[in-house]
Point group: C2
Chain length 188, copies 2
């Protein structure tokens, strides 16, 4: 997925592709065309036992998944630092905030404070629709839930606060167009 | 290492600490003090066998280390995208270019093209001295080696082209001071 090779042709609105696959595919396109350098971070692993056999590669024999302390994606585009995560729901009318973790919100807030361009992809898998929600909007819903607010973001609010990403051929999700709008609106 | 907690007090010029530990320690300091958000990326792993026991955490039973397609570190500082790698040598008079890999140089070049601030830490472990070499200087030595040039960078050239990072108490290596100078000189 991190390969800089030009990705295989993606079918329009290909169903069954996960949001992460769609993002990775689009990032490979952006990288190959020198438009942006954005990668998914590897999943952090707690190593317990590693064998080092003679004359062959080290083999991990026991390890555990660790909770990441950041979001999944970051990179650079037109001089801007981008940072984001990707979330999916089967819900049809709202996006549950429990998809996000406290440490991810904290990380996004820290990145915003440093002048980063931060957002989240929200995919409604049942209707195959993807929104790009600026992190500053996400923070409002996130913080409100601890102040008697809803535990999910209604779809009608997402429609208002986000940029919808429409599927196309290449890249399959042209999300940097939305990022351009975010940057223009932010006045950075 | 990715913890946002204020790091334990680092002893001045503590010998025996690896360069990565020194960077991670400094990044924890910068994060805790809201100065920058810079993390080491996890090592990518090729999973082969994972057990999912009932009522307990997934256990990785067979996996292999994969070659990273990027550098080890990136993040955001004062609106700038930072990207770098950290290398050590036991040599005393020059830094071998074989410490770098083609894909890392390619990645750094792609990030420079997008307006990132890119560099490499070069540590001479025998004398416990660390230099921050701007990537644009590194590229010159890297490219020359394929054109009849040296396979290593002489220490005297490194002294000329780099910023030396002097140990201090907190952060143990105050490398963002050198980054400030790099940014000022780049006119970005
Ligand atoms: Mg995710
Ligand atoms: Mg390294």
């Amino acid at each position: 997925a991190n390969s800089p090779a030009i990705p295989h042709v993606s079918l329009y609105g290909k169903r069954g592709m996960s949001l992460e696959e769609e993002i990775n595919d689009s990032n490979a396109y952006y990288l190959a065309h020198e438009i942006a350098v954005i990668h998914k971070k590897p999943t952090p692993i707690q190593l317990v036992k590693v064998d080092y056999p003679k004359r062959s590669a080290a083999v991990i024999k026991e390890a555990y998944f660790r909770r990441p302390s950041t979001t999944d994606y970051n990179g650079v585009y037109r001089g801007y630092y981008l940072d984001f995560d990707a979330k999916e729901t089967n819900n049809k009318t709202s996006f549950p905030l429990k998809n996000f973790h406290e440490h991810q919100i904290k990380h996004l807030k820290a990145c915003i404070n440093q002048g980063g361009i931060c957002f989240a992809f929200l995919k409604f898998t049942a209707i195959n629709v993807i929104y790009l929600l600026p992190a500053t909007k996400l923070f409002i819903y996130w913080d409100q839930q601890f102040d008697g607010g809803r535990k999910s973001i209604p779809l009608k609010n997402i429609k208002q606060d986000s940029f919808q990403i429409k599927y196309q051929l290449n890249p399959i999700i042209p999300y940097l167009d939305a990022v351009d709008k975010m940057i223009a609106e932010s006045g950075k």
